[in-house]
Each structure stands twice: as C-alpha cells, then as structure tokens.
Subunit: 222 residues, 2 copies
C-alpha cells in the first residue's frame, strides 16, 4: 500500500502492542536526524545501527504503519516521518483539560512542547481561589464546578490528572461522569475507571524509584 | 526482620523487578490515604481492595521490603510508609543536574514536587546566552563548558536530559565522560550508554502516542 501523509481511515486504527508504540517514537526521532543529515532513504538495518534495536523487530514494528519500503533503498525518509507522526497521533491536535494546577500541573501547563506531539491543554481546573479566573501560559484556569459546562463547550475527551492523591479518585470519577474518555494520570495513585476509559500512567516518582534502585545496585557492585 | 525507618545497609540493596518497583509507589500512596483516615494497621487484602491488585502479588512485592506483617492485624501503617519511602529512595535527597532548559526542562526546574521524592536538581546547563548566569526557581543555569567543574563541586551522579534530539547523544556522552552514573532521559531519542550507566526513559511523547492509539481504538469500536 502506498504511504500517505494524511490521517488513517478510522477503520484501520488497530490496537498496536504497547512495546511497539514505545519504540516507534525512537525510530521517528532517529529518522528525523537522518533527514537533517540529508539522507533521502533509510533501511531498518540503518535504524537498527542507530538505535541498537534488532532490524527484524524494527521491520515488524513498522509493519503496523501504512508504509512499505523498497528493496535495497529502504523507506523514503520524508514519507516515513510523515506517516509515523500521523500514526502516533502527533499531527492532529487532541484537546485536553488539566486538573490540579499545583507544582507539576503548573509545570505541564508551561510546557508548550506537548503541542508539538498532538496534545493541547485548552483549560485547567483548580479549587484555589487565587488561581481560578487567572491564566497560566495563556491557559484559563476554572473552578471544577465549571467542568461539565466547559467540557461541552470545548468538546474535550482527554483529562490530565495532577491533583493530590487524596482526591485523585474523586476527580477521576468526576472526569469520567463528565464525559472524559482518556485520563493521563501523573499522580502516584492507581486510579480505577470503567472498562472503556483509557488510563495512561506517567508516574515520575515511580520512574525515580526505579532509577535510584538501579543506581544503588550498580554502586554496591563496584 | 524488624522494619527500620533508616536507610538499608548497602549490601542489602537488591535489584528489584521493574514491575514491583512500579507498583510499590501505588501501595505507598494508598497506605498514606489510610493513615489520613486514621487507620493504624493495613493488610495486603485491604491494599488489594483499594488498588485492584492481587493480594498475593502485593505480599510478594512487599517481601522485597524490610517489613513483616503481623497475622490478622497486618502491617503497621506508620512503619510501612516509612519503610516504603526509604526503600523507594524518597527519603534521602539525590542531587541532579538538568541539561537543556527548554520548554520541558524549564517546567521540570519549576516542579518543586520532585524534591519530595528524593530528587533535587541543584543546577542546570544550557548554551543559550540569555539563560547562562540566570536562575530558574532558584536553580542556577550554567554553560555546558562548566559541567565537569560543577560536577566535582556538587558531587552529582544523576543527569536529567531535556535537550533537543539532535544533541541528545552528544550531551549524554559528555555527562558520562564527566562522571554521571544515571541519566533520566525525557527525550524521545534512544540514547546509548556504557553498560554500568543507568538510563531511565520517560518519554511523555511515547505515553501520548499510546494514549491516542487506545483512545482511537475505543472510539472506533463504539
């Protein structure tokens, strides 16, 4: 099938294995670099050299994407970038609400980089009267009571959760009841949701724990 | 073995399985909530009810930690919190440098929450002349040329990587050559390091891709 830069027809969206979805962005960034170096074609073998991932694994991962390589020349760099960015959902903007404008929440509101990867936080919610009615990085902050109304107004399906753990579940329930379909959970709390709701856990603290443990192990061996 | 709140003797630091290290922070936050509710003891069965994780799995995970429960009463809440926080490395501060004060890097410098989980970013590095010599959230920003000298001055072993992908590998090599032992990689680039160096990948973009894909799958089924 010829690769297209435009969005995949909905019916073709398949549930891609998590490991594949974690590796595809690596390929994307590597191919972007090759493009900067003036390369016009790239093979799985080349990507393998750059990333240290087995070439057959790369070919398998790329088989989920609507692109076919040409024998000997490999994949066309421009097309591969376009198709990967589209496939990963970075090309169409997904609007999101953020709940909890604390230290991390505020930091995420300031991180304009997320927009380059398809996430646009259009509004935030917090009970702090000093925040309600203000803007952070241009993003309006409302009181949680306004959530349902704002969700219909903005037609948002993604909620970013950066509240204290004591209210993580309550706010999640509120989000889901209000029509949120996917929760990006930055809290160290394991939230429970109905079956059809997507949860993406990104606990910086769990990652820290992992790094500290590995670091200590290495130092004890030495 | 009786549970102690203080640091584990180095020789006891074991390489804990990654899934366990990802679940332990969930137990910690749940037990913290139970403490707020006035609970003095907690059983794996209770934690299982709260988190939806199998009780035997929880007992197994907790067996890596230096704590023993009492039959019928379970674990003492205060002790379990202290031991988990200590075990996860949240109680002793690990100093770190941040490389690349862009949108995400700046956001992380502003997130004081990391300090509560054992990570203190003591200095940042960027080539931008408008940033060099300034402070962000009280954290000094230096030119990368000063890295080696500063690393000895601060005795830092952890580097947070938030640079553009084009220089991710070069900066990583520079960090490692300068004595950094663990790299917290926030870039979507797969960095290569010598065997004994710890890499923790936290690609917000890969997590976004995963969430977008799952969200699309659900919506196509409906």
């Amino acid at each position: 099938m010829k690769a297209m830069g435009n969005a995949l027809p909905k019916r073709e969206v398949a549930k891609v294995p998590e490991p594949t979805l974690r590796r595809l962005p690596w390929y994307l960034s590597n191919v972007k670099l090759l493009k900067q170096k003036g390369e016009r074609f790239v093979s799985s073998t080349q990507i393998s050299k750059e990333t240290g991932i087995d070439a057959s694994q790369i070919a398998k991962d790329l088989s989920y994407v609507n692109i076919s390589g040409r024998t000997r020349v490999g994949y066309e760099v421009d097309t591969l970038i376009a198709v990967l960015e589209d496939f990963l959902g970075f090309t169409n903007i997904h609007k999101a609400f953020l709940f909890g404008v604390g230290s991390l929440g505020g930091a995420l509101l300031r991180d304009s980089g997320l927009a380059h990867f398809g996430l646009e936080i259009v509004a935030a919610f917090d009970v702090n009267p000093e925040l309600v009615g203000t803007r952070l990085n241009g993003i309006p902050i409302f009181h949680p009571d306004e959530f349902e109304r704002k969700r219909e107004e903005y037609d948002v399906r993604i909620g970013v959760l950066t509240v204290p753990i004591e209210i993580a579940q309550r706010i999640t329930d509120k989000m889901v009841a209000g029509g949120i379909k996917a929760v990006w959970n930055f809290t160290p709390f394991r939230i429970r949701v109905p079956e059809r709701i997507v949860v993406q856990n990104t606990s910086l603290y769990a990652h820290l724990a992992l790094m500290f443990n590995r670091l200590n192990c290495n130092e004890n061996q030495s």
